[in-house]
C-alpha cells in the first residue's frame, strides 16, 4: 500500500517536473551534449576497422549477405537498454534531436557512460557473475554495499584488471572494504572460513571464462582439466581466514580428496595454464590476482570481452559466457578485441566504445533478404533478444514518465521506481545468475503486461501520466501518436501506423481522448518490438 501512495506522490512530483521541463526544456537536468564523434577520425578507428574487416571476412567465407545498418534511433535504444537497463526517455530524445544527426550516437554513448544508471545497472550484471544472486551469509556479506562499490569503480572507469585484482586480494571487513564480499559470500555458516573450492570455481568462470568446477571431484570428462588443476587454484585461498577484523592471510592448507584412492592430500597453489605468468613473490592471493589480470593472460581478456559482448548484445559471442573452453581457437574478432583490451590497461569503457562502434553492433535486425540460422550464428544480423525483467519494467516506467528517471530525479520518484522494479521482477521472474541462456517468454509475463497493475497504473488517466499529458498538450493527432511512439518504441510511426492511430484519435476529446491514448500505450507496450531487443 505504501508503495501505491509513494507512487502517487512520486508521479505528481515527476509530472510537475516533467511539465516544467517541457516548458523549459534545458533546465535543471543532466543534458545530452554534443561531443565530437569518436568513431571517425579517432585513435579507435584502426581497431574498429580491423574488427569490421574480420567480420566481413567471416561473412564472405560463409557466403552470407549481412544485414544493412540500422538507423540511429535503433542504436540509441540498444545502447540505453544495454548500458542502463531502460529505454531513453522522451525528454532525452528531444534533447538528442537538438544535436546534429551524425553526432547523436557518440554523444549519447558519452552521456550514458557518465550516468549513474550505467554504473548501477552494469554493476548488478557483473555482481551476478562475481557473487551470484543468493542472499549469502547474513552477518558477513553485504551484497548491496558490494554492488554500490562496483558501480563507483565502473563510473570512474577504473582499469578492469585492477578492479578484479582487488576482489581477489582484499583483506579486511566486508562493510569497510566492499571488495572482500567477493570472498565472504562463499562462507558457510557452520564451515571453516571462506569456501576455497567455490572461490576457485568462481575465479575460473567469472574471470577466465573456464568451467573448472567439474574437475572439483573428478577429472573433467570432456576437457583437458584435471582434478589437481582445480584444487591448485583453490589452494591460493588456502590461507584465507576470517576473523573479527575481517579477511586476512593466516595459516592453513588446501586439502584434496583424490577421486580414485579417496586419500586426502595437501595441494600447493598452482595455475592450470600459462604457468610462466605466475609471480613467485607475495601472498598466495596476491600471486593469483597478478596472474589472473596479467596483460598476457589472454584468457582474462577474452573472457572479459565475451562478457561485455553479452551485456551489449544480450547474447554472448561464443556459446556461453562462462565456458570459453573453445579458447584455444577463438574467432578473429574476439582475439582482436581482447588484444586491444589487454594493450590498453583493460579499459572497459574503451572496449564498450569499440564494440558499439563496430558494424556488427550497427547492423539491423531486419533485411530485405532472408535471415537464417547461419546469419544468426555468424552475427550477420543483430539478434532479437528478449529483454531482461528489469529492462521491461524500467522501460514501461520510463515510457510512461516522459521525463528521464535517473540519479537526479526526485528521491520519491526513484524510490517508487526501484520499488516497482523489485515488485515487478519478483512477479515476472528473475533470470538468476546465468543471464544469457536463450529463453522464450512465459505466459505469466504476458499476463502481467496485458492485465497487470503496473501497466494499468502507468498508462491510465492520472493527472500527470504520459497518456494524459499527451492527450491534453499535443498540438494535434499526428504529434500525439508520434510522441507515444517515441516514448515507448524510440522511433516514429510508419506511415501506415500513423494513419491508423491518427484515425483512432480523430475527433476524440476529454476523457475519451485520454482513453484512446491509454489504449495506444497499452498496445505499444504489449508488442514484440517493446519486449525484445532488436
Amino acid at each position: 500500500m505504501w508503495l501505491r501512495n509513494l507512487l502517487f506522490i512520486g508521479l505528481v512530483v515527476a509530472a510537475i517536473a516533467a511539465l516544467r521541463a517541457n516548458l523549459f526544456p534545458l533546465s535543471g537536468n543532466a543534458q545530452v551534449r554534443p561531443v565530437a564523434p569518436v568513431t571517425r577520425g579517432s585513435e579507435l578507428d584502426e581497431v574498429i576497422g580491423r574488427v569490421n574487416a574480420a567480420f566481413r571476412a567471416e561473412w564472405t567465407a560463409q557466403s552470407l549477405q549481412h544485414a544493412p545498418l540500422a538507423d540511429e534511433y535503433t542504436i540509441i535504444r540498444r545502447l540505453s537498454l544495454a548500458l542502463t537497463g531502460t529505454i531513453p526517455s522522451w525528454e532525452e530524445m528531444r534533447q538528442l534531436e537538438a544535436i546534429p544527426p551524425e553526432n547523436r550516437v557518440d554523444s549519447w554513448l558519452s552521456y550514458l557512460l557518465h550516468d549513474r544508471r550505467f554504473g548501477n545497472y552494469f554493476a548488478e550484471r557483473l555482481a551476478r557473475a562475481y557473487v551470484g544472486t543468493e542472499d549469502g551469509p547474513f552477518i558477513i556479506y553485504r551484497r548491496r554495499r558490494f554492488v554500490t562499490w562496483l558501480s563507483e569503480q565502473l563510473l570512474t572507469n577504473r582499469p578492469y584488471g585492477s578492479l578484479v585484482a582487488e576482489l581477489i586480494v582484499s583483506d579486511g571487513l566486508w562493510t569497510d572494504k566492499p571488495a572482500t564480499n567477493f570472498i565472504t559470500v562463499t562462507t558457510v555458516p557452520e564451515g571453516d572460513g571462506p569456501d576455497q573450492e567455490r572461490l576457485a570455481g568462481r575465479v575460473a568462470r567469472a574471470f577466465l571464462g573456464v568451467r573448472l568446477d567439474c574437475a572439483q571431484c573428478h577429472n573433467h570428462p570432456f576437457e583437458e582439466w584435471q582434478q589437481k588443476d582445480f584444487h591448485g587454484l583453490a589452494a591460493f585461498f588456502g590461507k584465507t581466514q576470517q576473523g573479527l577484523t575481517g579477511l586476512y592471510e593466516g595459516k592453513g592448507e588446501h586439502m584434496m580428496t583424490d577421486h580414485k584412492t579417496a586419500k586426502k592430500e595437501t595441494i600447493e597453489p598452482a595455475v592450470p595454464f600459462l604457468k610462466e605468468l605466475l609471480p613467485t613473490d607475495g601472498s598466495r592471493r596476491s600471486r593469483l590476482a597478478r596472474w589472473v589480470t596479467h596483460p598476457q593472460n589472454e584468457y582474462f581478456a577474452r573472457a572479459t570481452v565475451q562478457r561485455v559482448w553479452a551485456l551489449l548484445f544480450g547474447r554472448p559471442y561464443l556459446d556461453s559466457v562462462e565456458s570459453m573452453d573453445a579458447l584455444s581457437n577463438p574467432p578473429q574478432p574476439l582475439v582482436l578485441l581482447a588484444q586491444d583490451f589487454a594493450a590498453h590497461h583493460h579499459d572497459l569503457q574503451r572496449l564498450i566504445r569499440i564494440i558499439t562502434a563496430s558494424e556488427v553492433f550497427w547492423q539491423d535486425s531486419k533485411a530485405n533478404h532472408e535471415l537464417t540460422d547461419e546469419h544468426e550464428r555468424h552475427w550477420a544480423a543483430f539478434p532479437l533478444v528478449r529483454l531482461r525483467p528489469e529492462q521491461v519494467v524500467g522501460s514501461v516506467q520510463q515510457a510512461a514518465a516522459l521525463k528521464t528517471i535517473n540519479a537526479e530525479s526526485n528521491l520519491l520518484v526513484r524510490a517508487t521506481y526501484q520499488g516497482s522494479i523489485n515488485e515487478f521482477v519478483k512477479r515476472y521472474g528473475d533470470t538468476g545468475e546465468d543471464e544469457f541462456t536463450g529463453r522464450g517468454g512465459t505466459i505469466p509475463q504476458r499476463l502481467l503486461l496485458l492485465n497487470g497493475d503496473m501497466v494499468k497504473e502507468s498508462t491510465e488517466n492520472k493527472p500527470f501520466n504520459a497518456s494524459t499529458l499527451i492527450a491534453n498538450l499535443s498540438a494535434n493527432d499526428r504529434a500525439a501518436v508520434e510522441t507515444a511512439y517515441l516514448s515507448v518504441l524510440t522511433r516514429r510511426p510508419t506511415a501506415e501506423e500513423a494513419a491508423h492511430f491518427e484515425s483512432r484519435l480523430a475527433g476524440s476529446k476529454g476523457q475519451e481522448r485520454i482513453s484512446r491514448l491509454e489504449d495506444l500505450f497499452w498496445t505499444l507496450i504489449n508488442s514484440t518490438e517493446f519486449s525484445w531487443n532488436h
Binding site: 551470484g132 558457510v188 557452520e190 567455490r198 570455481g201 568462481r202 568462470r205 568451467r211 568446477d213 567439474c214 556459446d319 556461453s320 562462462e322 565456458s323 535486425s365 531486419k366 530485405n368 535471415l371 537464417t372 540460422d373 544468426e376 532479437l384 528478449r386 512477479r427 538468476g432 545468475e433 546465468d434 541462456t437 536463450g438 529463453r439 522464450g440 517468454g441 512465459t442 505466459i443 505469466p444 509475463q445 504476458r446 499476463l447 496485458l450 492485465n451 497487470g452 497493475d453 494499468k456 510511426p493 501506415e496 501506423e497 491508423h500 492511430f501 483512432r504 482513453s515 489504449d519 497499452w522 498496445t523 504489449n526 508488442s527 514484440t528 518490438e529 519486449s531 525484445w532 532488436h534
Partner: protein, 431 residues
C-alpha cells in the same frame, strides 16, 4: 487447439538449441505436436506395469525445515523427544506426533520415510536440493520436480498453468535449464481472485486493442518475419488470452466448493491452498506445491510446531480424504516435507536447529504403497540412520510413480546429460 501446452510445452528443448532461432519457435509454439508418441512408446516399453501411473503430484512444502520429532517421527520418552508425545494412528504400531490427530486417522493411506538424508543445512541450498533432487551447482540450474513432470508429460487438455506454486516463499519451483516456461505459476491465498487474468477494459476496447496490436506487429515483422515468429511472443499472448477465457480458471476459485468441504480443510490460506490443489489437479495440472511457512523453530520449538500442526493437520487430512472420495488419490502423489529436519538436541532457547542428517517425508497416493514406514532415526540422536534415503532416491520414487524413468537424461545447455533424478526409487514404496 485442444492439446494445449499453455504454460509448460512438453519437450520444449529450446534451451538446448538456443542458437537455432527457428527451432526456438518449434519449442515455444509447436512443442505439443511432438512428444506424446515418444512418451507412449517409452511407457509401452516398461515391463510388468499393470496399473496406470500417477498423473499429478501435490507437494505440501513445510518451509523453514520442519522438526521430524514434532511431526512424523516422534521419540516420546527419550531425551531427544522432549515434551512431544506420540499418538496412535491408522497404521498399527506407528505413532506420529500429537497435534496431528486428523492425519493420524488417515495414516493407513500414507507411508512415512523417516530417514531422508541431505547434505545441505542452509535454507536456500536445502530448498534447492529438496525441490530439484540435486545439490546447488554453480554451472547449472536444475529443474524442480514439477518442471520435470511438465516437461516429460503431455499437456492433454489443460489450458491453465500445469506447474503451480501456491503461497510460495522466495524459492518456488523453477524450470531451471528446461526454461522459464516451466517455472511454477505463483499464486497466493486462493481466497483472493487470481491476479492478471481479467481484462482491464471493456470487451469493445479490448477488441480494438488487439486489432491495433496487429498493426504494430506487422510493421515490426517487415524484413524479419521468421525471426519475430521465432520469439513466440505473439503465440504466448494468444495462449495467455485463451487462458483468460478458459472455463478451467474456475479451478482456482475455492469458494465454489461447498462450505462443509472448505471447513474440513481449515479456514487458513494453507487450507485453501490445499483445496485449490485438489481443484487444479482435477483439470489436469501436473504439479501443485502448497507452502506452509514457519517451521524454522530455532526458538520456542514446541509452541511453534503446535501452531503449525494446527494448520497442517486438517488441511493434509482433508486433502487425503477428499482425493480418496473423488477417486483421485490413486492418480495423485501427495508428498509432505521441507528443506531439512531439526536437531535432536534441544538448544537453550527451547528450539531445534537445522538437521539434514535424518528427517522425515510423508508420501501417499499415486500408486505408492501405503502404510509403510521406511527407515528410522537414532533415539539417542546420533547421525546414524537406518536405511538412509537420499534426496535423489526420494525424487526417483515420485518420478517412477509418475511413470517416468529417473535414469532418463536431458541435455543441459552445454550438452551435459542430466538424469531426471540421480537416485533409486525406494523399492519398499514402489511396485
Amino acid at each position: 487447439m485442444n492439446s494445449f501446452d499453455t504454460f509448460c510445452p512438453s519437450h520444449g528443448n529450446h534451451a538446448l538449441e538456443r542458437r537455432g532461432f527457428l527451432k526456438l519457435a518449434g519449442a515455444a509454439g509447436l512443442g505439443w505436436l511432438t512428444p506424446v508418441g515418444q512418451l507412449l512408446a517409452r511407457q509401452a516399453e516398461k515391463k510388468g506395469k499393470t496399473s496406470e501411473p500417477a498423473y499429478s503430484v501435490i507437494v505440501l512444502w513445510l518451509a523453514g525445515g520442519p522438526s521430524q520429532l514434532e511431526t512424523f517421527d516422534p521419540h516420546p520418552g527419550t531425551k531427544i523427544g522432549g515434551e512431544t508425545k506420540g499418538i496412535a494412528t491408522g497404521q498399527k504400531n506407528v505413532q506420529i506426533a500429537e497435534g496431528l490427530p486428523l492425519l493420524a486417522e488417515q495414516l493407513a493411506d500414507v507411508s512415512l520415510i523417516r530417514s531422508v538424508v541431505s547434505k545441505e543445512g542452509d535454507h536456500e541450498r536445502g530448498t534447492y536440493t529438496l525441490k530439484t533432487g540435486y545439490r546447488p551447482d554453480p554451472t547449472i540450474e536444475h529443474p524442480a520436480l514439477g518442471a520435470i513432470a511438465c516437461h516429460e508429460l503431455p499437456a492433454d487438455k489443460t489450458e491453465v498453468p500445469r506447474h503451480v506454486s501456491i503461497l510460495p516463499n522466495q524459492w518456488p519451483g523453477r524450470g531451471g535449464f528446461l526454461g522459464d516456461e516451466y517455472d511454477a505459476f505463483k499464486l497466493f491465498d486462493p481466497a483472493n481472485p487470481l491476479p492478471d487474468v481479467t481484462r482491464r477494459v471493456s470487451a469493445e476496447r479490448d477488441q480494438r486493442r488487439v486489432a491495433d496490436l496487429s498493426i504494430v506487429e506487422q510493421a515490426f515483422a517487415k524484413g524479419r518475419e521468421k525471426r519475430v515468429e521465432a520469439t513466440g511472443h505473439r503465440q504466448t499472448i494468444a495462449r495467455a488470452r485463451i487462458m483468460m477465457d478458459s472455463a478451467q480458471l474456475k479451478a482456482f476459485d475455492v469458494a465454489s466448493d461447498s462450505e462443509s468441504v472448505r471447513k474440513q480443510y481449515g479456514d487458513t490460506p494453507f487450507g485453501r491452498g490445499c483445496l485449490a490443489a485438489r481443484r487444479l489437479i482435477e483439470v489436469g495440472v501436473r504439479c501443485v506445491e502448497v507452502t506452509l511457512d514457519g517451521w524454522d523453530t530455532h526458538a520456542n520449538n514446541y509452541n511453534s510446531c503446535k501452531a503449525n500442526n494446527a494448520i497442517l493437520d486438517p488441511a493434509f487430512a482433508a486433502l487425503l480424504k477428499d482425493l480418496k472420495q473423488r477417486d483421485l488419490l490413486k492418480k495423485t502423489v501427495v508428498l509432505c516435507l521441507g528443506e531439512f529436519g531439526r536437531t535432536p538436541n534441544i538448544n537453550p532457547a527451547a528450539g531445534r536447529d537445522h538437521w539434514p542428517d535424518g528427517f522425515s517425508a510423508a508420501i501417499a497416493g499415486g500408486g505408492i504403497r501405503p502404510g509403510v514406514v521406511v527407515g528410522a532415526t537414532d533415539p539417542q540422536g546420533s547421525k546414524k540412520v537406518e536405511r538412509p534415503v537420499t534426496v535423489g532416491d526420494l525424487h526417483a520414487t515420485v518420478l517412477t510413480a509418475l511413470g517416468l524413468d529417473p535414469k532418463h537424461a536431458n541435455a543441459s545447455p552445454i550438452g551435459r546429460p542430466i538424469r531426471l533424478a540421480e537416485g533409486e526409487a525406494v523399492k519398499e514404496l514402489i511396485g
